[in-house]
Symmetry: C2
Subunit: 177 residues, 2 copies
């Protein structure tokens, strides 16, 4: 057994929210050391790199946690309980920007902040875009759809500080190079 | 004023930890709407893309939050109170891998998870590596130094799910292309 193979010893929920929760959990290592960690529990999320031949579809929305009223991001959303990644992706693309897509491809998944949170974000690619006739925009999200020129990915990268958007756009830039 | 310009209404600290804390905060929008957000407060972190002509310097360490005993990552660490990014970067490079560097360059910074946490991660580039004679490894971090072939960045990208490492390696791959 590796000296890094920790075993869970138990966990106390110190905050139980509708979106995230916070656990204080303990772990034991093979050498007998025990550690305590505050861990944010998050349901996971999906971000969608979507574009036609000319434009990347992005959104602007307020992000209170980082003090930014105009955060430029991929269309995205959190996984609902029991929902698979592609179902979430299709739902969010319809709700946030009113579109459906013909072609879907999973690109990567990553952990947002491995030291403190279990959030896993799935980045998927969507093309063959068309208006979704059944789209029902969600009220109250204050989302503005932004059509960004596809040949200015560097400009989009310079205009965002959002992890999922940076990863998605770097992958798109590589594939177009 | 944009209809996305929120104003803070107050905040209650529901967990106060040594590393992260959790606030439940309220905000008001210009149209009168009020929203409540659970926000994780994090001091920020720095990740270091460092290499010589042949090898990338990475680390493996256990990450209890995501259940991975062998997470492959950039050398990294959290900002101490009042510490600037480059001071943190130099300290962590010495503590985690026993190295100092001649050349430092800030590459990017990003927010890990804009919906729920204020963590900002700074990615910096370090070259001109040499052993730090004053290095004092921190005990108890269970960190293994990994020298990864620089011409196999794709392999390193396939072997990690850590956001800061993916962003740092994608930027390095672009600059070497």
């Amino acid at each position: 057994m590796s000296d890094r193979e920790f075993a869970p010893l138990g966990s106390e929920r110190v905050y139980d929210g509708s979106f995230i929760s916070l656990d204080v959990a303990r772990f034991r290592y093979p050498d007998g050391d025990e550690v305590e960690r505050a861990i944010v529990r998050h349901p996971g999320a999906v971000g969608i790199v979507c574009h036609d031949d000319e434009h990347l579809i992005l959104v602007r929305q307020p992000r209170e946690a980082v003090g930014d009223p105009d955060s430029l991001e991929l269309p995205a959303g959190k996984l609902e309980e029991g929902e698979d990644v592609m179902t979430t992706a299709k739902r969010e693309l319809s709700e946030e920007v009113g579109l459906a897509a013909e072609h879907w491809e999973p690109w990567t998944s990553y952990y947002s902040s491995v030291g403190v949170m279990d959030e896993e974000v799935h980045v998927v690619h969507a093309t063959g875009l068309h208006e979704d006739p059944d789209a029902e925009p969600v009220e109250g999200e204050r989302i503005e759809v932004v059509r960004w020129p596809l040949d200015d990915l560097d400009g989009a990268l310079a205009a965002t500080k959002d992890a999922k958007t940076i990863i998605g756009l770097l992958l798109l830039r590589d594939r177009r190079a």
